[in-house]
Symmetry: C2
Subunit: 324 residues, 2 copies
């Protein structure tokens, strides 16, 4: 890159969508007008080259897209509508201007489809790997708190769509020779994951007591977070886990491991009272969204079990842990 200021001018959006944006890029900080009756949601997620992606598994466009998508997923997991984002990027030598433009294009095209506005950021150089940190801002109706600690014994455990796809996709992308299996749905799940914003909004609008988490670290890990925060025992029914045909071409043991521990699928996992489950699933059907009962919630102490044809087995909190 030749010039930081010229680059900032290039990535600055020509137009913005949100009427509550008072000042975007161009001053010391962005100014946003609050919306009456809503709370603000804030989160940040960072992706590092060779940790979260590499040049072989992801194109620059996909890196940008995913860096924003993972943050939108956190907003979705709070039942919120994503509104704004800020991008901090540390750039090493060796990335061309075209590649950097592609990273921002990946973000802006995803943002565009949700009318999110880029409102700030920081652009620095680094001797290390490309590091991209996105801060996302969203809004949720006041007092609609879809928190991990909301689960209660007797609840239905639900999942908004199939998991394990991203891990399968990554495994394919890391293979030297690509297989002849139908893989596109899997690699796309890894490279261009869809944040479940609509599902999160439906869960929020339902008005029901709902515990919620997004599947970023693996189903087992996310279920453990709900179990611990709510002090309940979560039972996942193996035969109820939604799947897709593309996964049927892989070894069953691998598939179960991808489902439970793979992560990065960004589906939403949660619980709702058995009483409200039918009307919640009707609400999803009416709105063209999927939701599946995948288990049950019973009395604590907090743990997670898998109910399979071999009986009830406790499952660990695996998922990806940096530094282990």
């Amino acid at each position: 890159m030749k010039d930081e200021f010229e680059f900032i001018n290039r990535i600055k959006p020509n137009k913005t969508h949100q009427p509550t944006l008072i000042e975007g890029i161009g001053d010391d900080a962005a100014l946003i007008r609050p919306e009456s009756g809503y709370d603000d949601i804030l989160c940040v997620d960072t992706m590092v080259e060779n940790i979260h992606f590499n040049r072989k598994t992801m194109t620059p466009y996909q890196i940008g897209y995913k860096a924003l998508a993972v943050n939108m997923s956190d907003i979705a997991a709070m039942g919120g509508q994503p509104k704004f984002y800020l991008v901090s990027i540390a750039i090493p030598n060796g990335w061309t201007e075209t590649e950097l433009d592609d990273i921002y294009r990946g973000m802006s095209e995803l943002a565009e489809s949700y009318e999110m506005d880029l409102i700030g950021g920081d652009t620095v150089s680094t001797s290390g790997p490309l590091t991209i940190s996105v801060t996302a801002h969203g809004r949720v109706k006041q007092d609609r708190k879809l928190l991990r600690r909301n689960a209660k014994p007797g609840d239905v455990l639900f999942l908004t769509g199939p998991v394990g796809l991203s891990a399968a996709g990554l495994s394919i992308l890391l293979e030297e020779a690509h297989s002849d299996k139908p893989i596109e749905e899997l690699t796309k799940a890894h490279q261009l994951p869809t944040p479940q914003v609509k599902a999160g909004l439906l869960l929020s609008e339902s008005g029901y007591r709902i515990a919620l988490n997004d599947v970023s670290d693996g189903l087992a890990s996310e279920a453990h977070e709900i179990a611990e925060a709510s002090q309940v025992h979560i039972v996942i029914a193996e035969d109820k886990l939604p799947t897709i045909e593309a996964l049927s071409f892989f070894d069953k043991k691998n598939v179960l491991d991808w489902m439970l521990n793979g992560g990065e699928d960004f589906q939403l996992i949660g619980t709702v009272s058995a009483e409200h489950w039918i009307s919640l699933s009707n609400l999803f059907e009416k709105n063209g969204q999927t939701i599946h009962q995948i288990g049950t919630v019973s009395e604590g102490p907090s743990k997670v079990s898998l109910n399979s044809k071999n009986g009830l087995m406790p499952i660990d909190k695996k998922g990806y842990n940096h530094f282990t």
Copy 2:
């Protein structure tokens, strides 16, 4: 570091200050209640080892302190009160748990003195240098917009305190043999800069039309930003630039260069109408804060000049530009 989750538990604040914080660390994202009559301010700044600091020039405590301070300075430059922050950190091998704790202690001690709350973040590993990205949230009274484009011909150019200290301090820290000059005030200006939050609030509360910027990239660069955004000619009077005794021990040419191009002093530079200048400076005096007239604003086209004993000279937009 042994375990990401254990580390997050350790840095999670025991108590929080802001009554508008609904959910802090512990779920997918933070939830904040807006305050009636206020706009929200958002910004992000990133510091990279060996670019913005190194192990010789900064302790871990100072790295953390400064990473938050630079963001608070951006909030101050919008006339806002900083409220919340999120920290994304990419950690290479070789940093001990004690050092990482010190980074967070540097942030939390600064935050504590402003009752700011840590509400989220991300902790990842990296093969590159330590990279710390802080997102800050603040609030400012609605319609108090202290923007760079607010300057008008006839305005007074002001500065809240001396600049060049941080660059002098860095120059001392990079010397092999430390000098016998009184340097502590200078090295401290580099390592533990004070964001001018009180000054920013006074400027906002004054109710006057004010253009404002914080001196992060050097006085010349910041003056250029105001000049360009407002399409005015800014004249800096060399003999009116506030200074401190410690700078008098250094070569005058170096000192002027540090003042104009050094940056990272985080004083506020701005303009206000000549009509309101006296009452503004009285307001500062009454509140125990300093403010200095350092020049004037005249008709554009946009440029910045230095008025010295050699006459009026145009000065460049230097400051630190990554990638050049």
